[in-house]
């Protein structure tokens, strides 16, 4: 294992300490239990948006805390759901009296831990709503499994719900917007290489020099199919077709196109993918009116990308454009 770390056990806390040192104007960090929260939390009368998940996907979630996005994020160990005490303390720290929305990706661990935390918070008199994101179209037989995984749409939902919360909308409204975003977003990813969890020290899976995994999960979970490596255009075609066919995106629809790096793929290659994606959308009469290109939901150093398409209406466009100021995403400020 070749990594820029000191001790394996210190990977998460030392990363948090660095982030705290870099962005004291935006965030604060609480240790034991670990969570990152807005520097000005709690914001009185505003719904607080809280998320969390295993570490190793940065900037999601801890790098997306700040004005216009998350109020708090709970980092677990690498690729491991955080624990209920983290979520409970984070929820209490950011509750401004208007309730707290938990955005939870659809993984059994995340759901069970957030469920326990929501029970505990409610027992302490805090109103909590939970919305589960499950946008990964790679999972085909979702009726017979844990269901679709929460991936790229989660980042978009956090941005949009954060903006809705800033407008002082009610907990129910913010949760409804979150459900709408999840319902209108679809994603699929692929891997060119594996990744190495620091505590394990060796790659999560083996992938030959001339192979790729289509439909990979963000923890290296296998996807739809392992196949011989293809060109960027062919890969984009496979991913985008699966995404476009899943949600009946139709001619005339406006979408946000999100091309994401799994961590090891450079932005220059993401633009090659985006170029092909625009051609494909154009051919189907779908208008890309917003985009996000870069590494936002990663899988450590895995090379590969994911494509997310989110259908937009006027409300979602406005919320997307609203100012956001976090370590990982910033505009309008």
């Amino acid at each position: 294992m070749k990594k820029l770390i000191n001790k394996v056990d210190d990977v998460v806390p030392e990363g948090l300490a660095g982030m705290e040192a870099a962005h004291p104007d935006l965030i604060k960090v609480h240790y034991n239990p670990n969570f990152v929260y807005r520097a000005d939390a709690p914001v009185k009368g505003k719904v607080a948006v809280v998320s969390g998940g295993g570490s190793g996907h940065e900037p999601m979630h801890i790098g997306l805390v700040g004005v216009g996005m998350l109020d708090a994020a709970c980092p677990g160990a690498v690729f491991t759901s955080p624990t209920p005490d983290q979520m409970l303390e984070a929820t209490k720290a950011v509750d401004g009296g208007a309730g707290v929305l938990h955005i939870v990706k659809n993984y059994s661990g995340d759901i069970m831990n957030f469920e326990m935390a929501a029970d505990l918070a409610q027992a302490e008199g805090i109103e909590v709503e939970s919305v589960i994101t499950n946008d990964d179209v790679a999972v085909m037989d979702s009726l017979y499994t844990q269901g679709r995984r929460g991936v790229g749409t989660t980042v978009l939902a956090e941005k949009i719900c954060g903006a809705a919360a800033e407008q002082k909308r009610s907990l129910k409204e913010v949760a409804d917007i979150c459900r709408k975003v999840n319902g209108w977003g679809r994603s699929m990813g692929m891997a060119l290489t594996s990744c190495t969890v620091p505590a394990k020290g060796s790659p999560t899976f083996e992938l030959g020099e001339d192979e790729m995994e289509i439909g990979i999960g963000i923890h290296g979970e296998p996807g739809r199919e392992r196949m011989k490596l293809k060109t960027a255009d062919e890969i984009t075609e496979i991913l985008a077709t699966a995404v476009l066919d899943d949600l009946p995106f139709k001619s005339g629809d406006e979408v946000l196109a999100f091309v994401n790096s799994m961590g090891g793929t450079p932005i220059s290659e993401l633009y090659i993918v985006y170029r092909k994606l625009t051609e494909m959308c154009k051919a189907r009469g779908i208008k890309i009116v917003r985009n996000l290109i870069g590494a936002y939901i990663t899988s450590l150093e895995m090379a590969g990308c994911s494509i997310t398409l989110l259908k937009l209406d006027e409300e979602l466009k406005k919320l997307w454009d609203a100012p956001v100021h976090t370590p990982g995403l910033r505009w309008g400020v």
């Binding site: 690498v78 690729f79 955080p82 005490d85 993984y107 059994s108 017979y144 296998p222």
Partner: protein, 212 residues
Amino acid sequence: MPMTKDDVIRCLGTIAVVLKENKEYLTQLDAAIGDADHGINMDRGFTAVMDKLPGVEDKDIGTILKTAGMALVSTVGGAGGPLYGTFFMRAGTAVPNKYELTNGDLVALFEAALDGVVQRGRANLRDKTMVDAITPAVDELRKAAAEGVDTVEALRRATIAAEEGMKGTIPMKALKGRASYLGERSIGHQDPGATSSYLIFKAFLDTVSTHT
């Protein structure tokens, strides 16, 4: 001979040792069909349990087990944290204020633990999860208690049943948890959660057989 409070403390100690010894093995099983962290997480959790035990070692068995469960919930993470945390918390709730456990108490303890796991994880038998190891073990404990055999024999039968249940997960297709995403590709792999559950029953057996 009933199990004493000190036996229960020794059991938890044995579990901690066994999980540390099997950390790499459980993680390897998890790497094949999950996310390669089960052994690491369980070891971290039981290390925390061992840290908490000195504070409650004079208390009753219910309190000791609940304390272990809470330590697991707040340190393990993943799916294992809420599941094993609930397992030990419910186990403790089933035997309040007791300093000794009859075979009947053991049945009540493990039945409550299993119910908690099923509720929290919403898994059914044959979904390829820890439920597949725990359920047959609890069935054997119940039968053994009805027959009136001693604790060592009851735990021996339960452990054999857990081991068979664990091995029985190999040909199953996973329907819950991260392994479910593999579909057919999960067939042929032993479930890591069922494996850690078997190791826990075996730790109970090994502790009790060496001390009676």
